[in-house]
Each structure stands twice: as structure tokens, then as C-alpha cells.
């Protein structure tokens, strides 16, 4: 028997994140590293715990190995609990057949038995793709105060960008009157953040109906929400003020990393009352050497810095050799930057070694694009990697062939 929970969170973490190219080749987008010592999924998980929600189902599908390993028993987020805690929910084979998750709504539908164990009054639907700090308890309170069936968190976006989002048109009471997916001529600037709170019974009814509908693509935004709206359910927008970023592209991932850097950064993680938790690596404190020069950068445990680092984010265990120069870059864990190498406006994924005297990327000021280097690669000394390149094993093989 399980203890009743007022609210259960369901975290959609199955996304491939195909626009992150080589960075999500071997891992799901929520497991992509971020901000030196985090992964994207640390943000919604930490938000849950900090909001007092201790029952979280994580729905995985694409490349789940790293994600499963990372979440483990939920210990880093205090989610290793007897009566609740975090549970990874992969697609499974049922008596009636085996199915991948066909859409966001179908993923929740297939796991309603998990939700039912806790007999919750509310279900919170989250996505594992966004960087933000949000108190879901406040949103839940708004949901209850309004007596809503469904509450959708919305963010004010500039009018010119509104056509990239799902836009909620509301009345003065914030009740949603219309929902438009990527409208050409947006009537409002309230963009859906993909965060929903439903009354459990309402959600169950609509997911069952949606499942029975052969024409539905089993998606919250495309099917379930419009249907609820059409039926005249009480749906409210919950305006969120604060930093929120979809890190779905190389550019936005780079930007979000840089938003952490600064004396008064755009997105400040140093709030001790709203800590972001992550799995610990048991590495030694970092060491800055005799010839190091670090400015406007974030450095974390296990790093050894002997070179120059400017406007960059370095993850754990990064080695910057003497004479190396890193600028405007995001370096993920255990990367080695060889002696005398220059890395400019680049993202380098974990465990890659950049040989001595290499040149990676070009100065950001020159209007060039970000260079991306995949994980577990060994770049030979004195390699030149131009801006905008996506370097993976195939790229390197090709490069070697053209040289021979």
C-alpha cells in the first residue's frame, strides 16, 4: 500500500533533441550536461524537490542508458524514498502488445497505473528540456484557488517571437479562451512552457478518450489541450516570471550556459534557498596553476588549469594545459585541451582530447558559428577545426581520408 500524495509529477524525458546533433548522439537530451556540474534534468528534478513534490515519474524512451544511470535511485535529489521518490518509467510490453510512447499524452496514459498508486488529486506534467527555477507549489496553489481543471504555465515572450510558441489567449481572469500552436498572427504573448497541472480525474478521462481516437497524434499540445478547451473545461494560465530557456539547439545551449556567467548573471544558481542538485563525482577541488589566467568563467571540481580561460564554462575534470587558450566556450567533463591549443566559441563534449597546438573554432566577434566537437574523440595535434563544424567520429575519419 502506498501513502497518498497530493500531487505526482510526470517528467517527460524521452526527447531525442535531434537539433543538438552529436551532443545527443549517445544520450537523451535531458541528460545533456549543462553549467559545469549539472545535466538538464537536474533543473526540473530540483524544482520538484524544492517545491515539496517528492513523487516523480521520469518517462524515458530515446537512449535511456545514461539517463537511467544518472537518476539511479534518486539519491542526489533526496528522492530515494520509501513511500514516494523518483521512478524511471520506460515503455514496456503489456499483455495487449508492446508499444513505444506514441506521443506525450500516450506516455502518460501508459503509466497511469504509476499515478494511481499514490491516489493523487493533481498531476503535474513537466518536460526535461528546459532550464529554469520554478516553485510548482505556487502554481498548484493558483490551480486550487481558481478551482481549475487544468492550469498551464505561461511565459511572456516578445510579440515577434510569439509565433514560435504555443500561444494562450486568455480573458482578464487568466482563463484560457483559445490556444494556438505557432500562430502566424499571435493575439497574445503568453507562451506555453509545457508545464501543466491537471485534476487527476479530468486527465484520466481525456487521456482515455484521446487513446481511443485513431486520428489523434497522442500529444498534449496538439490533441488533449485543444479538446479540453473545446469542451469548455476550466483552464487557466499561470504566468511565470523569471528565467526559462529551451535548450533545444546548439545556439540556445551555448547561450544558456553563458547566462550563468557574470558577476550578476542573467540566470543565477547561487541562491542557497533554491539549490540545484546534481550527482556528485567525488573529484578533488580544482587547481589553478602558476601560469593560469581565469576571467569571467565558471570552473568546478577536478579541473586543472594551466592556461588561459575567458568567458567560458568548464565542467568537472577538465584539463587545460600550459599555453592553451579558451574563450567563449563550453567544455564538458574530462576534456583535455592540449598545450598551446586555442578553443574559440565552441562546445566540446565529454572525454574528448584536443591535441597540442590545435585550433578549434573562430572568434565569436567575427560573426562565425559555434564549432561542436562530440564526446570520446581524440583530436590529433595541430588539427584545425573551422567554425560551425560538427565533429564526430565520422567527421574525423573523413578528415583523415582526405589527408592521405
Amino acid at each position: 500500500m502506498y501513502k497518498k500524495q497530493e500531487c505526482v509529477a510526470m517528467l517527460l524525458a524521452g526527447g531525442q533533441g535531434s537539433r543538438l546533433y552529436t551532443l545527443t548522439e549517445k544520450t537523451a537530451k535531458p541528460a545533456v550536461r549543462f553549467g559545469g556540474k549539472y545535466r538538464i534534468i537536474d533543473f526540473p528534478l530540483s524544482n520538484c524537490v524544492n517545491s515539496g513534490i517528492y513523487t516523480v515519474g521520469v518517462l524515458t524512451q530515446y537512449q535511456p542508458l545514461q539517463l537511467n544511470e544518472y537518476i539511479g535511485n534518486g539519491q542526489p535529489w533526496d528522492l530515494d524514498r520509501g513511500q514516494s521518490g523518483v521512478m524511471v518509467l520506460p515503455p514496456y510490453q503489456a499483455k495487449s502488445g508492446a508499444d513505444w510512447y506514441k506521443g506525450t499524452a500516450n506516455a502518460i496514459y501508459q503509466n497511469f497505473n504509476f499515478i494511481d498508486r499514490y491516489d493523487p488529486d493533481y498531476v503535474l506534467i513537466l518536460s526535461g528540456d528546459h532550464i529554469y527555477k520554478m516553485d510548482y507549489a505556487k502554481m498548484l496553489k493558483a490551480h486550487k484557488d481558481k478551482g481549475a481543471d487544468c492550469t498551464i504555465a505561461v511565459l511572456e515572450v516578445p510579440l515577434e517571437e510569439a509565433s514560435r510558441f504555443g500561444i494562450m489567449n486568455t480573458d482578464d481572469e487568466l482563463r484560457i479562451t483559445e490556444f494556438e500552436e505557432k500562430p502566424k498572427h499571435p493575439k497574445s504573448t503568453k507562451a506555453s512552457m509545457g508545464i501543466y497541472i491537471f485534476n487527476t480525474s479530468v486527465l484520466r478521462d481525456y487521456l482515455e478518450a484521446d487513446e481511443a481516437d485513431p486520428n489523434s497524434s497522442k500529444d498534449f499540445g496538439k490533441n488533449v489541450i485543444p479538446k479540453m478547451l473545446a469542451d469548455g473545461l476550466k483552464m487557466y494560465a499561470y504566468p511565470f516570471r523569471g528565467y526559462w530557456k529551451d535548450v533545444g539547439t546548439i545556439d540556445s545551449l551555448w547561450e544558456a550556459n553563458m547566462d550563468l556567467v557574470g558577476e550578476q548573471p542573467i540566470f543565477d544558481l547561487r541562491d542557497r534557498d533554491w539549490r540545484i542538485y546534481s550527482r556528485n563525482t567525488s573529484e578533488a577541488p580544482h587547481f589553478v596553476g602558476e601560469y593560469a589566467k581565469v576571467s569571467n568563467s565558471l570552473i568546478t571540481e577536478g579541473c586543472t588549469i594551466e592556461g588561459i580561460v575567458e568567458n567560458s564554462v568548464l565542467a568537472s575534470g577538465v584539463k587545460v594545459c600550459r599555453g592553451a587558450y579558451i574563450k567563449d566556450s563550453v567544455i564538458m567533463s574530462n576534456v583535455t585541451i592540449g598545450e598551446g591549443s586555442t578553443v574559440n566559441y565552441s562546445i566540446i563534449d565529454e572525454n574528448t582530447v584536443i591535441g597540442a597546438g590545435s585550433v578549434v573554432g573562430r572568434a565569436k566577434a567575427s560573426g562565425e558559428k559555434i564549432a561542436v566537437i562530440g564526446s570520446d574523440l581524440s583530436i590529433k595535434p595541430a588539427t584545425n577545426i573551422p567554425s560551425g563544424e560538427m565533429v564526430d567520429a565520422a567527421w574525423l575519419a573523413n578528415e583523415n581520408k582526405s589527408k592521405n
Binding site: 567525488s282 578533488a284 577541488p285 580544482h286 587547481f287 576571467s295 569571467n296 568546478t300
Partner: protein, 378 residues
Amino acid sequence: MSAYGIIFSNIHDSHIPELTRLRTIASVPFACRYRFIDFTLSNMVNSNIYNISVITNYNYQSLMDHIGSGKDWDLARRSGGIKLLPPNITAFANPYIQNASNSRLDSLKSVSASLSRIKDDYVVLSDCDVICNVDFTDMIRYHQETGADMTIAVKNVEMTSEQAKSNVIFRSDESGRITEVIPYPADFSGEADISLNMIVMSTSYLNHLVLEAQTRGYTSLTRDIIARTSGYKNNRIYRCDGYFAAITSFADYYKHSMELIEKPWVRESLFNVKSRPVYTKVRNSTPTYYAAGSAAKNSMIADGCFIEGTVENSIIFRGVKIGRNATVRNSIIMQDTIVGDGAFLNCVIADKNAVIRDQRMLSGAETQPFYVSKGKMI
């Protein structure tokens, strides 16, 4: 083969009174984010010792706070795990408490009931003031193979007479059997095997010794047990190589902290030993931010810091803030301490949560660092 760990958390508190006024020697902060006991606990866990008792006598709030459930060392376990053994205060007067001794043997006597319930074959006894990364598995195997009654880890060192005064010297025959014990010699210099205060013996022998000590009123492990029995028991030394830092004074604490910066091999042999990480309480600090205009070199720096000034040859703990145009040289700045704008620090050890106000100038010397106590504002 299974072993049980027993850690003495108050032994030698008096060696560094500055840092142990509000804590046990086990919870003295070291190397940016560790406490002394982290090294002992990690050594045990990395040697598959998952049943550990930490004997505490007093002043152990900080230790309890640090260890918590033991989860960060994988020691939060249903069966076994870590256990803190505070003094056994009963409704009736307890002779061991009234004497308020914190010697190892008295501590063991006061927890004899707990010791008698140990089911593991061997016990590893360890203090906390020797910083090292060792594998106890090899030492226990050596103990088994030689059929010793007691095996004591030693290191062969060259000492001045000043250094020798705070050490226990063992003389042994060619086979490694202890022939003579010279505790804290008043006048000795030269090469000798000194005790690292890590001892292996069988659980039954430990219980036998504690019982004997209770009946006969013995109080010192070194004098009444090791030295007394060495004539007729098979007490052996086990020589260790590698890095060992015995912290026997405040100046020693400073010296060994600075070694972390000056000697790359010291960092390597403490923190980069394959398969033997050092664990500590996880604090979920953010990465450290280096502002434009900051200048840090030759320093070991933990996470969660905010560095705007200059840092040279220093050890900076978690959550420290170094203000604009401040200079911190040859110093150790502990957790959450704030160094104000334009302050100048040289050879300073600032304890936790201290505040050095803007423009202050503080300087000690290598042999006598200036100490700023916990929570102090200067």
C-alpha cells in the same frame, strides 16, 4: 574475511587547539572541502570496510552534522554502516565519564558492550590526524599471513629531535616483529619507524585486551598494551609508502596544507589514486565564478566561490568570497568566509564564516600563521 572500522574522533584534539575549540579533530576542515575524518572513512570504504564506529567523547556536534546519515560515504546502511558512539552516560555515575579521559584505551573501555557485539573477524583502529590514501586490504592480508597478534602501520622517516617528540617510535627485528616501543622520545633524532596510528587485530583479541584493561585499570593503548605486550606477543609493524601527513601542531596543519599546492605529487597521491576516491559531505555548491579582473594562481579552490580579487598559493574552501582588489596569499580560507574589497591577507588561516572587512591587512608568518576564529569579524 571481513573487518570492522573503529575511528577515534577526539584523539590529539589538543595538538591543534585553535581548530578544535569548537570541533573534534575528526571534523577539522582540510584541503578545500574535506574534514580529516573523510580520509579515514574513504580509506575504510575503499577497502570494503562498511561497518564503522566513530568513538566520540565531546565537542562532536560538527562531526554529527558532517556525517549525517553517512550517505555520502555509502555508509547509510540497514545492516552495518556508520555509527557514532558518544560517551555512555547512564542514569548512574559512569566511572569512564567522570574521568573524562579521551585516550584510545579509555574510549574503547567505555564502549566495550558495543565492541563485544562485533561480528567481523578483524578490527581496524584508526585516528583521524594522519592524512593519507591507503588500502587496508593489503594490511589486513599481511596481518593474516604473518599470524600477528597486532599489526601497526608505520612509516620510515628522518626526523629532527623536535619532530620526534610528538611521535611513537617502533624498533623491530628483521622479520618486522616489534622489539621496542619508544613513545614521544625526549631526545631522539635520525631515521626511525613512526606509528601512523592505524592498527589491525582480530576482534576477539581486541575484546580480550579491553577486558584486561578494565580489570587491571590500564589507560594507555601505546604504553599499557602495545609496549607492555611487545616482549612476548607477535606485534608487528607494517611499513607504508606514499604520502602521509601527520598533523601534530597548528604550524604542521599549515605546512601540510601548503604542500597540497607546492607539490603536485601530494595532490596526486591523495586525490588521484585509481579506484580510491576521497568522499565528503556533498554540498551542491555551484561552480566557482572567477570575475573579469580576478587573478588566481597556484591555488586549490573548491566550488561555490566568488573570486574577484587576487589569490596566490592559497587553499580556498567552499562558498568563499574574495572581494575586488583583495589579495590573498599563502593563506587558508575556510567555508563561507568573506574577504572584503581591498583586503590583504598573507599567511592567514581564516576559519569558517569569518568576515575580513574591506581594506584590512592581516599577516602572519609561515611558522606562525595568523588565525581568524570561526564566525569572527575583523
